[in-house]
Subunit: 329 residues, 2 copies
Protein backbone atom coordinates (compact mmCIF):
# COMPACT_ATOMS: atom_id res chain seq x y z
CA UNK A 1 0.00 0.00 0.00
CA UNK A 2 1.28 3.45 -0.95
CA UNK A 3 1.37 6.18 1.66
CA UNK A 4 -1.42 8.64 1.09
CA UNK A 5 -0.12 11.84 -0.46
CA UNK A 6 -0.62 14.85 1.80
CA UNK A 7 -0.81 18.39 0.53
CA UNK A 8 2.04 20.71 1.61
CA UNK A 9 -0.35 23.11 3.32
CA UNK A 10 -1.78 20.24 5.37
CA UNK A 11 1.72 19.18 6.39
CA UNK A 12 2.50 22.76 7.41
CA UNK A 13 -0.67 22.92 9.48
CA UNK A 14 0.14 19.64 11.23
CA UNK A 15 3.76 20.70 11.82
CA UNK A 16 2.70 23.95 13.45
CA UNK A 17 0.38 21.90 15.67
CA UNK A 18 3.46 19.98 16.86
CA UNK A 19 2.73 16.77 14.96
CA UNK A 20 5.99 14.81 14.95
CA UNK A 21 4.87 12.42 12.22
CA UNK A 22 4.20 15.32 9.86
CA UNK A 23 7.56 16.80 10.84
CA UNK A 24 9.36 13.53 10.10
CA UNK A 25 7.60 13.06 6.81
CA UNK A 26 8.43 16.63 5.70
CA UNK A 27 12.08 16.26 6.61
CA UNK A 28 12.14 13.07 4.55
CA UNK A 29 10.88 15.12 1.60
CA UNK A 30 13.66 17.67 2.18
CA UNK A 31 16.19 14.86 2.25
CA UNK A 32 14.88 13.04 -0.81
CA UNK A 33 16.48 15.45 -3.28
CA UNK A 34 14.03 14.27 -5.90
CA UNK A 35 13.06 16.93 -8.39
CA UNK A 36 9.38 15.95 -8.21
CA UNK A 37 9.37 16.85 -4.49
CA UNK A 38 11.07 20.21 -4.89
CA UNK A 39 7.85 22.17 -5.26
CA UNK A 40 6.31 20.57 -2.17
CA UNK A 41 9.51 21.14 -0.21
CA UNK A 42 9.56 24.83 -1.12
CA UNK A 43 5.89 25.20 -0.16
CA UNK A 44 6.44 23.49 3.20
CA UNK A 45 9.48 25.62 4.05
CA UNK A 46 7.69 28.78 3.00
CA UNK A 47 4.70 27.83 5.11
CA UNK A 48 6.88 27.11 8.14
CA UNK A 49 9.08 30.21 7.92
CA UNK A 50 6.72 32.59 9.78
CA UNK A 51 6.77 30.16 12.73
CA UNK A 52 10.54 29.56 12.72
CA UNK A 53 13.52 31.36 14.25
CA UNK A 54 12.27 31.30 17.86
CA UNK A 55 14.63 28.60 19.13
CA UNK A 56 18.08 28.44 20.65
CA UNK A 57 20.43 26.48 18.38
CA UNK A 58 23.34 24.74 20.07
CA UNK A 59 26.17 23.04 18.17
CA UNK A 60 27.92 20.16 19.92
CA UNK A 61 31.18 18.76 18.58
CA UNK A 62 33.86 16.36 19.73
CA UNK A 63 35.69 13.35 18.40
CA UNK A 64 34.22 9.82 18.53
CA UNK A 65 34.56 8.42 22.03
CA UNK A 66 34.25 11.74 23.82
CA UNK A 67 30.70 10.87 24.85
CA UNK A 68 28.56 13.06 22.61
CA UNK A 69 25.52 10.79 22.64
CA UNK A 70 25.64 10.32 26.41
CA UNK A 71 26.01 14.06 26.82
CA UNK A 72 23.06 14.80 24.55
CA UNK A 73 20.97 12.19 26.37
CA UNK A 74 21.71 13.81 29.75
CA UNK A 75 21.49 17.38 28.50
CA UNK A 76 18.33 16.78 26.48
CA UNK A 77 16.53 15.09 29.34
CA UNK A 78 17.50 17.93 31.67
CA UNK A 79 16.12 20.50 29.22
CA UNK A 80 12.85 18.56 28.95
CA UNK A 81 12.61 18.52 32.74
CA UNK A 82 12.68 22.32 32.52
CA UNK A 83 9.67 22.19 30.18
CA UNK A 84 11.61 22.65 26.96
CA UNK A 85 11.02 20.92 23.63
CA UNK A 86 14.25 19.50 22.25
CA UNK A 87 15.13 18.54 18.68
CA UNK A 88 18.39 16.72 17.98
CA UNK A 89 19.86 16.89 14.45
CA UNK A 90 23.25 15.92 13.10
CA UNK A 91 25.73 16.86 10.39
CA UNK A 92 28.21 14.12 9.71
CA UNK A 93 29.76 14.05 6.26
CA UNK A 94 31.37 10.66 6.86
CA UNK A 95 27.94 9.14 7.29
CA UNK A 96 26.97 10.18 3.78
CA UNK A 97 29.19 7.27 2.84
CA UNK A 98 28.63 4.97 5.80
CA UNK A 99 24.95 6.00 6.07
CA UNK A 100 24.85 7.25 9.60
CA UNK A 101 27.76 6.84 11.96
CA UNK A 102 26.38 9.35 14.42
CA UNK A 103 22.88 9.40 15.80
CA UNK A 104 22.33 6.18 13.91
CA UNK A 105 22.37 4.27 17.16
CA UNK A 106 19.44 5.75 19.04
CA UNK A 107 19.88 3.16 21.77
CA UNK A 108 22.56 5.43 23.20
CA UNK A 109 19.80 7.98 23.84
CA UNK A 110 17.28 5.55 25.16
CA UNK A 111 15.54 7.92 27.59
CA UNK A 112 15.49 10.93 25.31
CA UNK A 113 14.10 9.00 22.36
CA UNK A 114 11.01 8.07 24.41
CA UNK A 115 10.21 11.64 25.47
CA UNK A 116 7.11 13.24 24.00
CA UNK A 117 8.96 16.57 23.86
CA UNK A 118 12.00 15.23 22.05
CA UNK A 119 12.59 14.76 18.33
CA UNK A 120 15.72 12.93 17.17
CA UNK A 121 16.77 12.75 13.56
CA UNK A 122 19.94 11.08 12.23
CA UNK A 123 22.26 12.89 9.85
CA UNK A 124 20.86 13.13 6.32
CA UNK A 125 22.80 11.35 3.61
CA UNK A 126 24.14 13.38 0.73
CA UNK A 127 26.86 13.47 -1.84
CA UNK A 128 28.44 16.65 -0.49
CA UNK A 129 28.88 18.34 2.85
CA UNK A 130 27.20 21.42 1.41
CA UNK A 131 24.15 19.34 0.50
CA UNK A 132 24.00 17.69 3.92
CA UNK A 133 24.35 21.07 5.63
CA UNK A 134 21.58 22.59 3.52
CA UNK A 135 19.17 19.80 4.45
CA UNK A 136 19.98 20.25 8.11
CA UNK A 137 19.48 24.00 7.90
CA UNK A 138 16.05 23.50 6.33
CA UNK A 139 15.16 20.85 8.92
CA UNK A 140 15.93 23.37 11.68
CA UNK A 141 13.21 25.64 10.27
CA UNK A 142 10.66 22.84 10.32
CA UNK A 143 11.59 21.78 13.87
CA UNK A 144 11.19 25.36 15.05
CA UNK A 145 7.81 25.64 13.37
CA UNK A 146 6.81 22.46 15.21
CA UNK A 147 7.50 24.25 18.50
CA UNK A 148 10.92 22.83 19.35
CA UNK A 149 12.60 25.64 21.26
CA UNK A 150 16.01 24.07 21.71
CA UNK A 151 17.81 22.56 18.72
CA UNK A 152 20.92 20.50 19.39
CA UNK A 153 23.10 19.85 16.35
CA UNK A 154 25.71 17.17 16.73
CA UNK A 155 28.85 16.89 14.62
CA UNK A 156 32.30 15.31 14.73
CA UNK A 157 35.24 17.65 15.19
CA UNK A 158 37.55 16.16 12.62
CA UNK A 159 36.76 17.81 9.30
CA UNK A 160 34.86 20.62 7.67
CA UNK A 161 31.51 19.72 9.20
CA UNK A 162 32.07 21.59 12.46
CA UNK A 163 32.60 24.82 10.52
CA UNK A 164 29.23 24.20 8.87
CA UNK A 165 27.55 23.54 12.21
CA UNK A 166 29.25 26.58 13.73
CA UNK A 167 27.66 28.59 10.92
CA UNK A 168 24.13 27.42 11.75
CA UNK A 169 24.14 27.61 15.55
CA UNK A 170 23.97 30.31 18.20
CA UNK A 171 26.29 28.60 20.68
CA UNK A 172 29.12 26.20 19.88
CA UNK A 173 30.24 23.68 22.46
CA UNK A 174 33.37 21.55 22.18
CA UNK A 175 33.48 18.32 24.18
CA UNK A 176 36.92 17.09 25.20
CA UNK A 177 38.53 14.50 27.44
CA UNK A 178 41.21 15.15 30.01
CA UNK A 179 44.53 13.42 29.65
CA UNK A 180 44.39 12.46 26.00
CA UNK A 181 46.35 14.99 23.94
CA UNK A 182 44.75 16.65 20.97
CA UNK A 183 46.86 14.54 18.66
CA UNK A 184 45.15 11.48 20.14
CA UNK A 185 41.77 13.13 20.10
CA UNK A 186 42.12 14.02 16.43
CA UNK A 187 40.63 17.49 16.87
CA UNK A 188 41.28 19.71 13.88
CA UNK A 189 43.29 22.86 14.36
CA UNK A 190 41.14 25.95 14.61
CA UNK A 191 38.14 24.34 16.30
CA UNK A 192 39.20 25.44 19.76
CA UNK A 193 39.04 29.04 18.62
CA UNK A 194 35.46 28.57 17.37
CA UNK A 195 34.18 27.23 20.69
CA UNK A 196 32.01 29.34 23.00
CA UNK A 197 32.68 26.72 25.66
CA UNK A 198 34.89 23.70 26.16
CA UNK A 199 33.33 20.96 28.28
CA UNK A 200 35.69 18.34 29.65
CA UNK A 201 33.52 15.26 29.80
CA UNK A 202 33.96 12.08 31.88
CA UNK A 203 35.21 14.20 34.79
CA UNK A 204 34.43 11.54 37.36
CA UNK A 205 36.25 8.95 39.50
CA UNK A 206 39.94 8.76 38.79
CA UNK A 207 39.45 11.15 35.89
CA UNK A 208 38.41 14.01 38.14
CA UNK A 209 41.87 15.28 39.00
CA UNK A 210 43.27 15.24 35.45
CA UNK A 211 40.05 16.95 34.36
CA UNK A 212 40.55 19.77 36.89
CA UNK A 213 44.12 20.11 35.64
CA UNK A 214 42.96 20.22 32.01
CA UNK A 215 40.33 22.81 32.89
CA UNK A 216 42.96 25.10 34.33
CA UNK A 217 45.22 24.66 31.29
CA UNK A 218 42.45 25.34 28.79
CA UNK A 219 41.37 28.41 30.76
CA UNK A 220 44.84 29.84 30.49
CA UNK A 221 45.01 28.99 26.79
CA UNK A 222 41.61 30.57 26.04
CA UNK A 223 42.75 33.65 27.92
CA UNK A 224 45.49 34.14 25.32
CA UNK A 225 42.98 34.19 22.48
CA UNK A 226 41.72 37.47 21.05
CA UNK A 227 38.36 38.69 22.29
CA UNK A 228 35.32 37.34 20.47
CA UNK A 229 33.04 39.54 18.41
CA UNK A 230 30.18 38.79 20.79
CA UNK A 231 32.06 40.09 23.82
CA UNK A 232 31.58 36.61 25.35
CA UNK A 233 34.59 35.07 27.04
CA UNK A 234 34.67 31.34 26.20
CA UNK A 235 34.30 29.19 29.30
CA UNK A 236 35.71 25.83 30.38
CA UNK A 237 33.43 23.47 32.32
CA UNK A 238 33.65 19.97 33.72
CA UNK A 239 30.94 17.38 33.25
CA UNK A 240 30.16 13.74 33.72
CA UNK A 241 27.30 13.10 31.35
CA UNK A 242 27.12 9.50 32.56
CA UNK A 243 26.56 10.61 36.16
CA UNK A 244 24.67 13.74 35.12
CA UNK A 245 27.15 16.02 36.83
CA UNK A 246 27.68 19.55 35.56
CA UNK A 247 24.68 19.52 33.23
CA UNK A 248 22.74 22.24 35.05
CA UNK A 249 25.81 24.48 35.21
CA UNK A 250 26.35 24.11 31.46
CA UNK A 251 22.75 25.06 30.79
CA UNK A 252 23.05 28.09 33.07
CA UNK A 253 26.15 29.14 31.16
CA UNK A 254 24.38 28.83 27.79
CA UNK A 255 21.38 30.75 29.16
CA UNK A 256 23.73 33.49 30.35
CA UNK A 257 25.24 33.59 26.85
CA UNK A 258 21.80 33.86 25.27
CA UNK A 259 20.80 36.64 27.66
CA UNK A 260 24.03 38.60 27.16
CA UNK A 261 24.08 38.31 23.36
CA UNK A 262 20.39 39.17 23.08
CA UNK A 263 21.00 42.20 25.29
CA UNK A 264 23.85 43.48 23.11
CA UNK A 265 22.04 42.49 19.87
CA UNK A 266 24.81 40.11 18.84
CA UNK A 267 22.39 37.15 18.84
CA UNK A 268 20.14 38.50 16.08
CA UNK A 269 23.09 40.02 14.25
CA UNK A 270 24.86 36.66 14.13
CA UNK A 271 21.76 34.90 12.75
CA UNK A 272 21.44 37.46 9.97
CA UNK A 273 25.10 37.12 9.14
CA UNK A 274 24.69 33.33 9.09
CA UNK A 275 21.76 33.59 6.69
CA UNK A 276 23.74 35.84 4.38
CA UNK A 277 26.69 33.48 4.62
CA UNK A 278 24.47 30.58 3.56
CA UNK A 279 23.02 32.51 0.63
CA UNK A 280 26.50 33.28 -0.74
CA UNK A 281 27.83 29.85 0.19
CA UNK A 282 25.01 28.15 -1.73
CA UNK A 283 25.54 30.29 -4.82
CA UNK A 284 29.30 29.74 -4.75
CA UNK A 285 28.91 25.98 -4.28
CA UNK A 286 26.62 25.75 -7.29
CA UNK A 287 28.83 27.96 -9.47
CA UNK A 288 31.74 25.66 -8.69
CA UNK A 289 29.71 22.50 -9.26
CA UNK A 290 28.56 23.79 -12.66
CA UNK A 291 32.19 24.40 -13.63
CA UNK A 292 34.03 21.40 -12.23
CA UNK A 293 31.42 18.82 -13.18
CA UNK A 294 31.89 19.37 -16.92
CA UNK A 295 33.65 16.28 -18.34
CA UNK A 296 36.03 18.35 -20.49
CA UNK A 297 37.06 20.43 -17.46
CA UNK A 298 37.59 17.30 -15.37
CA UNK A 299 40.05 15.95 -17.94
CA UNK A 300 41.87 19.22 -18.51
CA UNK A 301 42.06 20.03 -14.78
CA UNK A 302 43.91 16.77 -14.18
CA UNK A 303 46.43 17.67 -16.89
CA UNK A 304 46.95 21.16 -15.48
CA UNK A 305 47.45 19.84 -11.96
CA UNK A 306 50.10 17.50 -13.35
CA UNK A 307 51.78 20.42 -15.14
CA UNK A 308 51.79 22.36 -11.87
CA UNK A 309 53.45 19.44 -10.09
CA UNK A 310 56.16 19.47 -12.76
CA UNK A 311 56.60 23.26 -12.50
CA UNK A 312 55.67 23.60 -16.17
CA UNK A 313 53.00 26.22 -15.51
CA UNK A 314 51.79 28.58 -12.84
CA UNK A 315 48.45 28.34 -11.07
CA UNK A 316 47.33 31.57 -12.76
CA UNK A 317 48.21 30.57 -16.31
CA UNK A 318 46.51 27.22 -15.73
CA UNK A 319 43.39 28.87 -14.31
CA UNK A 320 43.09 31.25 -17.25
CA UNK A 321 43.40 28.31 -19.65
CA UNK A 322 40.69 26.27 -17.90
CA UNK A 323 38.29 29.22 -17.70
CA UNK A 324 38.77 29.84 -21.41
CA UNK A 325 37.90 26.21 -22.20
CA UNK A 326 34.72 26.42 -20.11
CA UNK A 327 33.68 29.59 -21.90
CA UNK A 328 34.18 27.96 -25.30
CA UNK A 329 32.16 24.85 -24.41
Amino acid sequence: LRKKKIKPQDLVKQITQGNKTALSRSITLIESQQVKHQESVNAIIEGCLPFANQSLRIGITGVPGVGKSTFIEAFGNYLISLGKKVAVLAVDPSSSVSHGSILGDKTRMEELVKQENAFIRPTPSGDSLGGVAQKTRESIILCEAAGFDTILIETVGVGQSETMVHSMTDFFLLLKLAGAGDELQGIKRGIMEMADAIVINKADGENKKPAEQAKSEFRKALHLYPETESGWKPKVKLASALHQIGIEEIWNMISAYEKATKANDFFQHKRQEQNKFWLLQTINDRLKANFYQQPKIKTELKKQLKAIENNETTPFVAATYLLKIAKDL
Copy 2:
Protein backbone atom coordinates in the same frame (compact mmCIF):
# COMPACT_ATOMS: atom_id res chain seq x y z
CA LEU B 1 60.94 60.69 -23.44
CA ARG B 2 59.29 57.27 -23.53
CA LYS B 3 61.09 54.35 -21.94
CA LYS B 4 62.53 52.06 -24.58
CA LYS B 5 60.39 48.93 -24.97
CA ILE B 6 62.29 45.77 -24.10
CA LYS B 7 61.37 42.35 -25.41
CA PRO B 8 60.16 39.83 -22.82
CA GLN B 9 62.97 37.40 -23.68
CA ASP B 10 65.52 40.15 -23.04
CA LEU B 11 63.94 40.95 -19.68
CA VAL B 12 64.04 37.25 -18.78
CA LYS B 13 67.71 37.06 -19.70
CA GLN B 14 68.53 40.13 -17.62
CA ILE B 15 66.48 38.86 -14.68
CA THR B 16 68.29 35.53 -14.64
CA GLN B 17 71.55 37.49 -14.64
CA GLY B 18 70.41 39.15 -11.43
CA ASN B 19 69.61 42.53 -12.94
CA LYS B 20 67.45 44.33 -10.38
CA THR B 21 66.31 47.02 -12.82
CA ALA B 22 64.92 44.37 -15.17
CA LEU B 23 63.32 42.63 -12.19
CA SER B 24 61.67 45.88 -11.07
CA ARG B 25 60.45 46.70 -14.52
CA SER B 26 58.95 43.24 -15.00
CA ILE B 27 57.16 43.35 -11.67
CA THR B 28 55.74 46.71 -12.72
CA LEU B 29 54.35 44.99 -15.82
CA ILE B 30 52.79 42.27 -13.64
CA GLU B 31 51.23 44.93 -11.46
CA SER B 32 49.93 47.07 -14.33
CA GLN B 33 46.94 44.82 -15.03
CA GLN B 34 46.74 46.37 -18.48
CA VAL B 35 45.47 43.98 -21.12
CA LYS B 36 48.14 45.10 -23.59
CA HIS B 37 50.83 43.89 -21.18
CA GLN B 38 49.27 40.48 -20.53
CA GLU B 39 51.12 38.71 -23.33
CA SER B 40 54.50 40.10 -22.23
CA VAL B 41 53.75 39.21 -18.61
CA ASN B 42 52.92 35.61 -19.53
CA ALA B 43 56.10 35.33 -21.60
CA ILE B 44 58.26 36.71 -18.78
CA ILE B 45 56.74 34.37 -16.18
CA GLU B 46 57.05 31.40 -18.51
CA GLY B 47 60.70 32.30 -19.17
CA CYS B 48 61.45 32.65 -15.46
CA LEU B 49 59.69 29.48 -14.29
CA PRO B 50 62.58 27.05 -14.99
CA PHE B 51 64.80 29.22 -12.73
CA ALA B 52 62.25 29.64 -9.93
CA ASN B 53 61.27 27.59 -6.89
CA GLN B 54 64.76 27.38 -5.36
CA SER B 55 64.21 29.83 -2.52
CA LEU B 56 62.98 29.72 1.04
CA ARG B 57 59.79 31.76 1.41
CA ILE B 58 59.11 33.22 4.85
CA GLY B 59 55.87 34.95 5.80
CA ILE B 60 56.06 37.58 8.54
CA THR B 61 52.92 38.94 10.15
CA GLY B 62 52.05 41.10 13.11
CA VAL B 63 49.93 44.14 13.85
CA PRO B 64 51.15 47.68 13.18
CA GLY B 65 53.52 48.77 15.93
CA VAL B 66 54.92 45.32 16.61
CA GLY B 67 58.12 46.26 14.79
CA LYS B 68 57.85 44.37 11.49
CA SER B 69 60.02 46.77 9.49
CA THR B 70 62.72 46.90 12.17
CA PHE B 71 62.65 43.11 12.37
CA ILE B 72 62.94 42.72 8.59
CA GLU B 73 65.79 45.26 8.54
CA ALA B 74 67.71 43.32 11.21
CA PHE B 75 66.83 39.87 9.87
CA GLY B 76 67.51 40.79 6.24
CA ASN B 77 70.90 42.32 7.02
CA TYR B 78 71.85 39.24 9.04
CA LEU B 79 70.88 36.95 6.13
CA ILE B 80 72.96 39.06 3.74
CA SER B 81 75.93 38.78 6.12
CA LEU B 82 75.58 35.01 5.65
CA GLY B 83 75.90 35.48 1.89
CA LYS B 84 72.22 35.24 1.08
CA LYS B 85 70.23 37.27 -1.43
CA VAL B 86 67.06 38.64 0.16
CA ALA B 87 63.87 39.86 -1.51
CA VAL B 88 61.21 41.58 0.57
CA LEU B 89 57.63 41.69 -0.75
CA ALA B 90 54.36 42.61 0.91
CA VAL B 91 50.67 41.79 0.84
CA ASP B 92 48.59 44.47 2.45
CA PRO B 93 45.00 44.80 1.26
CA SER B 94 44.48 48.04 3.19
CA SER B 95 47.16 49.67 1.10
CA SER B 96 45.19 49.01 -2.08
CA VAL B 97 43.10 51.88 -0.78
CA SER B 98 45.74 53.93 1.02
CA HIS B 99 48.36 53.04 -1.60
CA GLY B 100 51.00 51.48 0.55
CA SER B 101 50.83 51.56 4.31
CA ILE B 102 53.48 48.88 4.70
CA LEU B 103 56.87 48.85 3.03
CA GLY B 104 55.95 52.23 1.66
CA ASP B 105 58.34 53.87 4.05
CA LYS B 106 61.67 52.38 3.06
CA THR B 107 63.44 54.69 5.50
CA ARG B 108 62.57 52.18 8.20
CA MET B 109 64.85 49.72 6.39
CA GLU B 110 67.63 52.17 5.65
CA GLU B 111 70.50 49.68 5.79
CA LEU B 112 68.76 46.88 3.93
CA VAL B 113 67.60 49.12 1.11
CA LYS B 114 71.23 50.00 0.31
CA GLN B 115 72.43 46.39 0.11
CA GLU B 116 73.39 45.08 -3.32
CA ASN B 117 71.94 41.68 -2.37
CA ALA B 118 68.58 43.01 -1.22
CA PHE B 119 65.46 43.78 -3.26
CA ILE B 120 62.57 45.55 -1.59
CA ARG B 121 59.20 46.01 -3.24
CA PRO B 122 56.15 47.65 -1.66
CA THR B 123 52.76 45.96 -1.72
CA PRO B 124 51.11 46.09 -5.16
CA SER B 125 47.87 48.00 -5.39
CA GLY B 126 44.78 46.20 -6.55
CA ASP B 127 41.03 46.20 -6.28
CA SER B 128 40.84 42.83 -4.50
CA LEU B 129 42.95 40.86 -2.08
CA GLY B 130 42.94 37.97 -4.57
CA GLY B 131 44.39 40.27 -7.21
CA VAL B 132 47.06 41.62 -4.88
CA ALA B 133 47.97 38.09 -3.79
CA GLN B 134 48.24 36.87 -7.39
CA LYS B 135 50.66 39.68 -8.27
CA THR B 136 52.78 38.88 -5.24
CA ARG B 137 52.83 35.17 -6.11
CA GLU B 138 54.03 35.97 -9.63
CA SER B 139 56.62 38.43 -8.30
CA ILE B 140 58.05 35.64 -6.10
CA ILE B 141 58.77 33.63 -9.25
CA LEU B 142 60.64 36.53 -10.83
CA CYS B 143 62.64 37.23 -7.66
CA GLU B 144 63.65 33.58 -7.48
CA ALA B 145 64.70 33.60 -11.12
CA ALA B 146 66.84 36.66 -10.31
CA GLY B 147 68.71 34.56 -7.76
CA PHE B 148 67.06 35.72 -4.56
CA ASP B 149 67.26 32.69 -2.29
CA THR B 150 65.31 34.06 0.66
CA ILE B 151 61.96 35.75 0.10
CA LEU B 152 60.41 37.60 3.02
CA ILE B 153 56.73 38.41 2.63
CA GLU B 154 55.33 40.92 5.05
CA THR B 155 51.66 41.26 5.95
CA VAL B 156 49.47 42.65 8.71
CA GLY B 157 47.70 40.18 10.96
CA VAL B 158 44.33 41.80 11.06
CA GLY B 159 42.37 40.49 8.09
CA GLN B 160 42.37 37.90 5.35
CA SER B 161 45.78 38.81 4.00
CA GLU B 162 47.73 36.62 6.42
CA THR B 163 45.83 33.55 5.20
CA MET B 164 46.93 34.46 1.68
CA VAL B 165 50.55 34.91 2.77
CA HIS B 166 50.40 31.67 4.75
CA SER B 167 49.35 29.97 1.50
CA MET B 168 52.39 31.23 -0.43
CA THR B 169 55.17 30.72 2.12
CA ASP B 170 57.13 27.80 3.54
CA PHE B 171 57.44 29.18 7.06
CA PHE B 172 55.03 31.50 8.82
CA LEU B 173 56.24 33.75 11.61
CA LEU B 174 53.99 35.74 13.92
CA LEU B 175 55.49 38.77 15.66
CA LYS B 176 53.95 39.75 18.97
CA LEU B 177 54.57 42.03 21.90
CA ALA B 178 54.64 41.04 25.54
CA GLY B 179 52.20 42.67 27.89
CA ALA B 180 49.67 43.95 25.43
CA GLY B 181 46.73 41.56 25.23
CA ASP B 182 45.58 40.23 21.90
CA GLU B 183 42.54 42.44 22.13
CA LEU B 184 44.91 45.43 22.17
CA GLN B 185 47.10 43.95 19.49
CA GLY B 186 44.14 43.36 17.21
CA ILE B 187 45.32 39.94 16.08
CA LYS B 188 42.60 37.97 14.31
CA ARG B 189 41.46 34.68 15.82
CA GLY B 190 43.01 31.69 14.10
CA ILE B 191 46.34 33.27 13.20
CA MET B 192 48.12 31.81 16.21
CA GLU B 193 47.27 28.34 14.96
CA MET B 194 48.80 29.08 11.56
CA ALA B 195 52.14 30.19 12.99
CA ASP B 196 55.25 27.99 12.75
CA ALA B 197 56.83 30.31 15.28
CA ILE B 198 55.79 33.18 17.52
CA VAL B 199 58.50 35.78 18.05
CA ILE B 200 58.01 38.15 20.95
CA ASN B 201 59.68 41.31 19.77
CA LYS B 202 61.01 44.26 21.78
CA ALA B 203 62.24 41.85 24.46
CA ASP B 204 64.76 44.29 25.84
CA GLY B 205 65.23 46.57 28.86
CA GLU B 206 62.19 46.67 31.11
CA ASN B 207 60.30 44.59 28.59
CA LYS B 208 62.54 41.56 29.07
CA LYS B 209 60.80 40.10 32.06
CA PRO B 210 57.24 40.36 30.71
CA ALA B 211 58.57 38.90 27.45
CA GLU B 212 59.98 35.86 29.26
CA GLN B 213 56.64 35.46 30.99
CA ALA B 214 54.74 35.73 27.70
CA LYS B 215 57.08 33.19 26.11
CA SER B 216 56.30 30.67 28.81
CA GLU B 217 52.54 31.27 28.45
CA PHE B 218 52.56 30.93 24.68
CA ARG B 219 54.62 27.77 24.92
CA LYS B 220 52.03 26.21 27.16
CA ALA B 221 49.22 27.38 24.87
CA LEU B 222 50.90 26.03 21.73
CA HIS B 223 51.40 22.74 23.53
CA LEU B 224 47.62 22.36 23.75
CA TYR B 225 47.23 22.67 19.99
CA PRO B 226 46.93 19.59 17.81
CA GLU B 227 50.08 18.42 16.07
CA THR B 228 50.85 20.07 12.74
CA GLU B 229 50.80 18.17 9.47
CA SER B 230 54.53 18.83 9.04
CA GLY B 231 55.43 17.19 12.33
CA TRP B 232 56.99 20.55 13.34
CA LYS B 233 56.25 21.81 16.82
CA PRO B 234 55.71 25.59 16.66
CA LYS B 235 58.31 27.47 18.69
CA VAL B 236 58.26 30.64 20.75
CA LYS B 237 61.31 32.92 20.60
CA LEU B 238 62.33 36.27 22.04
CA ALA B 239 63.92 39.01 19.99
CA SER B 240 64.89 42.62 20.08
CA ALA B 241 65.12 43.61 16.46
CA LEU B 242 66.25 47.08 17.46
CA HIS B 243 69.25 45.68 19.38
CA GLN B 244 69.68 42.77 17.00
CA ILE B 245 69.15 40.23 19.76
CA GLY B 246 67.73 36.79 18.96
CA ILE B 247 68.05 37.17 15.19
CA GLU B 248 70.61 34.40 14.74
CA GLU B 249 68.58 32.02 16.89
CA ILE B 250 65.47 32.70 14.81
CA TRP B 251 67.37 31.98 11.60
CA ASN B 252 68.77 28.75 13.09
CA MET B 253 65.24 27.71 13.97
CA ILE B 254 63.96 28.40 10.44
CA SER B 255 66.92 26.50 8.99
CA ALA B 256 66.11 23.58 11.26
CA TYR B 257 62.52 23.71 10.01
CA GLU B 258 63.68 23.73 6.39
CA LYS B 259 66.01 20.80 7.00
CA ALA B 260 63.39 18.75 8.85
CA THR B 261 60.58 19.36 6.36
CA LYS B 262 62.83 18.71 3.38
CA ALA B 263 63.95 15.46 5.03
CA ASN B 264 60.37 14.26 5.53
CA ASP B 265 59.24 15.60 2.11
CA PHE B 266 56.71 17.94 3.68
CA PHE B 267 58.43 20.98 2.18
CA GLN B 268 57.90 19.99 -1.45
CA HIS B 269 54.51 18.49 -0.67
CA LYS B 270 53.33 21.78 0.86
CA ARG B 271 54.47 23.78 -2.17
CA GLN B 272 52.58 21.50 -4.53
CA GLU B 273 49.48 21.75 -2.37
CA GLN B 274 49.86 25.54 -2.34
CA ASN B 275 50.07 25.63 -6.13
CA LYS B 276 46.97 23.50 -6.44
CA PHE B 277 45.22 25.70 -3.91
CA TRP B 278 46.05 28.78 -5.99
CA LEU B 279 44.81 27.17 -9.18
CA LEU B 280 41.42 26.38 -7.64
CA GLN B 281 41.33 29.67 -5.73
CA THR B 282 41.91 31.64 -8.93
CA ILE B 283 39.20 29.75 -10.82
CA ASN B 284 36.72 30.15 -7.98
CA ASP B 285 37.48 33.86 -7.62
CA ARG B 286 36.84 34.46 -11.30
CA LEU B 287 33.65 32.35 -11.36
CA LYS B 288 32.34 34.46 -8.50
CA ALA B 289 33.43 37.73 -10.10
CA ASN B 290 31.65 36.78 -13.34
CA PHE B 291 28.46 36.12 -11.39
CA TYR B 292 28.34 38.91 -8.85
CA GLN B 293 29.53 41.66 -11.19
CA GLN B 294 26.44 41.40 -13.42
CA PRO B 295 24.33 44.55 -12.81
CA LYS B 296 21.06 42.59 -12.70
CA ILE B 297 22.51 40.22 -10.08
CA LYS B 298 23.80 43.14 -8.01
CA THR B 299 20.29 44.61 -7.85
CA GLU B 300 18.52 41.34 -7.16
CA LEU B 301 21.09 40.20 -4.57
CA LYS B 302 20.40 43.33 -2.53
CA LYS B 303 16.66 42.59 -2.61
CA GLN B 304 17.19 38.98 -1.56
CA LEU B 305 19.49 39.95 1.31
CA LYS B 306 16.77 42.32 2.50
CA ALA B 307 14.20 39.51 2.27
CA ILE B 308 16.51 37.29 4.34
CA GLU B 309 16.82 39.99 7.01
CA ASN B 310 13.03 40.12 7.19
CA ASN B 311 12.76 36.30 7.37
CA GLU B 312 10.67 36.31 4.19
CA THR B 313 12.84 33.73 2.44
CA THR B 314 15.55 31.18 3.15
CA PRO B 315 19.13 31.40 1.92
CA PHE B 316 18.51 28.38 -0.34
CA VAL B 317 15.36 29.63 -1.99
CA ALA B 318 17.07 32.99 -2.57
CA ALA B 319 20.18 31.32 -4.03
CA THR B 320 18.13 29.24 -6.45
CA TYR B 321 16.27 32.35 -7.58
CA LEU B 322 19.49 34.32 -8.21
CA LEU B 323 21.14 31.46 -10.10
CA LYS B 324 18.06 31.15 -12.30
CA ILE B 325 18.22 34.86 -13.15
CA ALA B 326 21.89 34.58 -14.09
CA LYS B 327 21.14 31.62 -16.34
CA ASP B 328 18.37 33.51 -18.11
CA LEU B 329 20.53 36.60 -18.72
